[in-house]
Amino acid sequence: MMPLVRTAIAAGSWLDTEGGSIALVFVVGLSATLIIVGLYALGIRLLAVGAPDVRVPPGEDPEGPRAVVEHREHPRPLAATLAGGVCFAGVAAAVVYGIYLVIPVFHGA
């Protein structure tokens, strides 16, 4: 897919090429980041099923002096554990792919 996109943009002047690359970096970067942080936050939330939220006055730091942390009310259901695990596995895959991108030997650059 990538070469196609590049060719289409390269048809214009150099400014079009740059503009296209920038838009592409932004779109791909935004989507990848939102997927990764979304999965991670969802994983946290799934693993917290059964544990009450930290109680804190609105707008205050959940680690601040006025935060109240309570003990788990009931054990986490297996489904939540599994789903949370899937979320974190997705994030781990993204990290591995990131390392792959950093190390040129892996992709012959």
Binding site: G38, A41, G59
Partner: protein
């Protein structure tokens, strides 16, 4: 071997390695500032991890080193830029002086811009305007620099919003701890990516010098001792830590909390990796600072200290021309043969020592990097921090 050839080459090698050292302690902040600010990593542990990953990164690839000045300095038919060894020395001096000045001011400016600024200035004074490929400067340096903070900032803003939304303002049990772990991983990726890029640029300059002076074949990559010394210099600089800049990025732009740190570092890591993969590499410094600003905006509009951001932005804009000016002046002085070189060397060293002495008057160390009581800025003026209540 003539002394007039050998001495400038040795000076360039020494100064390059020193530049790499300043690059290390200047840019540590990029990757690790938010991790230190949120307590995800202890300051000394953070710089150790970053140092090791920068060293590893230096060995992973030498692709950048081969093409360091490509598209920026005009090349002759051998593929070499038309600058001499004393001019490279002058350009490096400009880069080192500017890097130390911005470090003293606690400004996260780009070491790459300082390096290219110095070389451009030296080339313009030493050879002429035609020695520089201005189109390349615009598309490879100026444009990415202008856009990096906005791209990273917008991505981090959206990421921060999502993170807070999904974890109900981080009140979901265990969120803060989990975000600290996540942040450590993404910050480490940023460090590794930094190592594969920045150490390369110094290797590129040393290799360029060896080729220009006739000690190495044109078109060959950096030698092992060059890779080793550049990697060690950047790692040592990183370990000694740029606490001054770290405090600016981690505490003074906005007081980074774990969810923001996670969002900012993840945005920075993915923006850096994706931009280099798509062939439009963005500056690590500007991406990270932009992401931190975005993470401040994503939480609550009022929590970004715009006076600090303005000062950082000013530093970004002037880095290239300022380093070019110093590099140009140094090139003019160094054109007078060995005596000129020695004058540049002595003056440059005097400025560096002066800045180190000034920095010691108001030191920022591993122990005080997160200290709120150090509210005055690095020049000693009282800080303009907003009171805590206005930000929540």
């Amino acid at each position: 071997m003539e002394l007039t050839v050998l001495v400038p080459v040795l000076l360039v090698v020494a100064l390059s390695i020193f530049f790499d050292f300043t690059n290390g302690f200047h840019d540590t902040a990029n990757a690790m500032a938010t991790s230190v600010a949120t307590g995800a990593l202890k300051p000394k542990v953070a710089v150790l991890i970053s140092a090791i990953l920068n060293l590893v990164g230096a060995f992973l690839s030498t692709a950048v080193a081969k093409t360091v000045s490509e598209g920026i300095l005009a090349q002759d038919d051998r593929g070499l830029p038309s600058i001499t060894v004393p001019m490279i020395f002058a350009g490096l001096m400009g880069a080192v002086v500017w890097n130390l000045l911005t470090w003293w001011l606690g400004l996260p400016s780009s070491s790459t811009h300082a390096l290219f600024g110095g070389l451009i200035g030296a080339a313009v004074i030493g050879v002429g305007v035609q020695a520089v490929e201005w189109g390349g400067v615009l598309s490879k340096i100026v444009l990415p620099a202008l856009l990096s903070p906005f791209i990273a900032g917008l991505i981090a803003l959206a990421a921060t919003f999502v993170v807070y939304r999904v974890t109900k303002m981080a009140t979901v049990a265990g969120s803060s701890t989990a975000f600290r772990h996540g942040q450590t991983v993404s910050a480490s990726l940023v460090s590794l990516a930094h190592g594969t890029n920045d150490a390369q640029k110094t290797m590129g300059v040393i290799t360029l010098t060896l080729i220009v002076a006739g000690f190495q074949e044109a078109g060959t990559g950096p030698q092992l001792w060059v890779i080793l010394s550049a990697g060690l210099a950047i790692a040592l600089g990183t370990y000694l830590g740029g606490w001054r800049i770290m405090r600016t990025v981690g505490k003074r732009i906005t007081d980074v909390k774990p969810p923001q740190g996670f969002a900012a570092e993840t945005s920075a890591a993915s923006t850096i990796l994706i931009s280099s993969t798509l062939g439009f590499p963005l500056s690590t410094t500007q991406v990270t600072s932009g992401a931190v600003i975005g993470s401040g905006l994503g939480k609550r509009l009022a929590s970004v200290h715009w006076n600090v951001v303005t000062r950082i932005a000013f530093g970004w804009v002037v880095t290239l021309p300022a380093a070019a000016l110093v590099g140009g002046l140094a090139a003019w002085a160094a054109s007078g043969g060995l005596v000129g070189l020695v004058i540049v060397l002595v003056l440059g060293l005097a400025v560096c020592i002066g800045l180190f002495v000034l920095a010691r008057r108001k030191p920022v160390s591993a122990d005080t990097v997160n200290d709120d009581s150090l509210d005055a800025d690095h020049v000693g003026r009282p800080g303009a921090r907003q009171p805590e209540g206005e930000r929540a």
